[in-house]
């Protein structure tokens, strides 16, 4: 790896692992930020992993910018020698594809879209060479996804699919961003999925909606009691397509505060993944659904 180190003013160091997105680059970003956290360097105030880069915020009165830069470069050497494995969790997220709420919203913003005569998911399916929306949903929900970044706003996860590049879905963002997106919309832009944690503006294509809360400032949702944000970079996600009936049932559970996401602990090995992607993904599915 040949990471590029640069200062973001007098309070940030920005490290670009690679210009292009790849699972390898994300893995380096995640290992580096973990190594920085473990090193417990005085003066560091924020550690932010991103897709193929990361950022450290620091107090230059506690540690000199050049000293911290040197320290980070030393840590990169150590991180490179570490075995590329990650102990993390895999989560099943139900998705109601082509739901009425994102449909209503996308119809309101048709003039900002590349193809005003198709829905977002029809457009995405077509430009990625899928014969039907059903086949496209199979691909989107088939192989699992890495949460490669949490941010933009309030706990919003960006996800990158664990397939080789030839099988990756690529969809441009809207021509002009919408001023509205329903909360919990499952979106798509570039080669990333996302879940809109709050209602608001957005430029990602809208494929569906999940009934599962992922951000709760009141911390009343049972599984968000300890912390208001659900996702962490490094989480693995499996989308589970659901229909209207299942969606309504899940919403009832959410309202009764009895909804519990399916979460299992897994160990991910980048080497095993690169040797056999489908085999490695199958093992993750076993871990998720074994019991």
């Amino acid at each position: 790896m040949s990471s590029r180190y640069t200062f973001g003013g007098d309070e940030h160091i920005f490290v670009e692992v690679e210009e292009a997105m790849s699972l390898e680059a994300f893995f380096v970003s995640l290992s580096m930020t973990n190594a920085v956290r473990e090193a417990d360097i005085k003066g560091i105030t924020e550690i932010c992993p991103a897709n193929a880069s990361f950022q450290i915020k620091f107090d230059p009165e506690v540690i000199k910018p050049d000293d911290l830069m040197a320290e980070l470069k030393r840590l990169e050497e150590t991180a490179e020698k570490a075995e590329p494995v990650l102990d993390t969790r895999i989560i099943e997220i139900p998705v109601y594809y082509q739901d009425p709420w994102t449909h209503e919203t996308l119809m309101r913003f048709r003039e900002r879209h590349q193809d005003p005569n198709a829905t977002d998911i029809e457009y995405a399916a077509s430009i990625n060479g899928y014969e039907s929306v059903e086949k496209f949903i199979e691909a989107h929900s088939g192989a699992p996804w890495f949460v490669s970044m949490v941010g933009f706003v309030s706990g919003l996860p960006f996800l990158y699919q664990m397939v080789d590049r030839a099988r990756q879905i690529q969809v441009p963002k809207y021509l002009r961003p919408r001023t509205d997106t329903p909360k919990l919309t499952v979106g798509y832009g570039g080669s990333f999925s996302c879940i809109y944690s709050v209602r608001g503006a957005g430029g990602y294509q809208m494929f569906g909606i999940t009934p599962m809360p992922i951000y709760d400032p009141q911390q009343s949702v049972s599984y968000l009691k300890d912390f208001l944000v659900f996702f962490k970079p490094g989480d693995i996600v499996k989308w589970k397509p659901i229909n209207r009936e299942e969606y309504d049932a899940a919403i009832e559970e959410v309202q009764a505060n009895t909804f519990t996401p399916r979460i299992r602990n897994v160990r991910f090995s980048l080497d095993d993944y690169n040797a056999d992607i489908d085999g490695s993904n199958a093992k993750l599915m076993e871990a998720l659904y074994a019991d």
Partner: protein
């Protein structure tokens, strides 16, 4: 005893010094855009510097007091009135129970900080009372102040001295044209040498889209990019990068057209290249820029940035000494 909000002014929010530590989850540090002004207003009324006050943009609120208190208004030149009578900014003003605090028209700057003895005592979230409306955190039920709200006050930490005032030479306001010092970096290499030069040579103007999340600028020449094949997943526009973190103060220029400086309520990341970062010493100033203010960006190195940072903390110390 609370304060009753009769009218809210424009975008009046409860702010303290923010909630650092959650940027990696998309929750920005927030807090007063002009930190020095809020700290100073708090000192004038006998509060800790990090107590919560009100940040008002261009137009102040109308507040009815139900107990005796001391207030101070710092930052923008937005003269306060007590029962209609004009008072000084940057000064400790006594208010009696039943009196109403309101404001004159704005004379200079953009954001006034209103500190009240005891500090506003709404429930802190993630360690701060600062309002972050997008994430429904802090403030009054996660939002800006509205007419009809009642704002609870905390306990005063030490008695205020009425009439205590900050010497004029210690009050900081932007020059005209405003100057913001920028340390080039991040994706600086993405624009051509000509664009790098033009960015610092041109005089820009603050656009109407200027808020707690970011300040947009217009009027300079469009920036040209160094040609390259766009990296996988970065998007087709030459100003796009693979989505990455955004430093506070970073200057992004979507499509090379209008620079945006991210401020206290920054989005934590996204897909636009950034050419550098406004130095920490000049972040407060941005909060005082009105739309249409002519602005120059001044290129500096790290050493200058650190000296400026040191000068800013010396200036804050001078205020502490002057009003202690």
């Amino acid at each position: 005893m609370p304060i009753n909000v009769i009218s809210a002014g424009i975008a009046t929010t409860i702010q303290d010094l923010g909630r650092p530590g959650y940027y990696h989850l998309g929750i920005p540090m927030g807090g007063a855009m002009d930190r020095l002004a809020l700290r100073t207003a708090n000192l004038l009324v006998g509060n800790e510097e990090d107590a919560a006050g009100l940040e008002s943009v261009f137009v102040g609120p109308e507040l009815e007091f139900t107990e005796d208190a001391t207030v101070a208004v710092c930052g923008a030149e937005l003269p306060p009135k007590v029962d209609g009578e004009v008072r000084e900014t940057w000064t400790a003003i006594p208010i009696k129970a039943g009196q109403v605090l309101s404001f004159e028209f704005l004379k200079a700057g953009a954001r006034a900080y209103i500190a009240i003895s005891g500090g506003i005592n709404t429930p802190p979230m993630l360690g701060s009372r600062s309002t972050y409306a997008i994430g429904a955190l802090g403030g009054v039920d996660g939002r800006a102040v509205q007419p009809g709200d009642t704002l609870p006050l905390g306990k005063q930490s030490k008695p205020a001295t009425e009439g205590l005032t900050v010497p004029e030479k210690l009050r900081r306001m932007p020059s005209n044209p405003a100057e913001l010092r920028v340390l080039p970096g991040l994706y600086w290499h993405r624009i051509t040498e000509t664009a790098q030069k033009n960015f610092f040579d041109d005089t820009w103007k603050v656009a109407n889209e200027a808020d707690r999340m970011g300040y947009r600028f217009q009027g300079g020449r469009k920036l040209d990019f160094v040609e390259r094949e766009q990296p996988y997943s970065a998007g087709a526009d030459p100003s796009n990068i693979t989505d990455a973190c955004y430093p506070y103060g970073s200057v992004q220029v979507p499509s090379g057209a209008e620079p945006i400086i991210l401020h206290r309520d920054a989005v934590s990341g996204g897909g636009y290249f950034m050419l550098g970062t406004v130095i920490s010493a000049d972040m407060d100033l941005i909060g005082q820029l009105q739309p249409h203010t002519p602005t120059r960006f001044v290129k500096v190195d790290m050493e200058t940035a650190l000296t400026a940072r040191h000068d800013r903390s010396a200036a804050m110390n001078a205020i502490r000494e002057a009003i202690s």
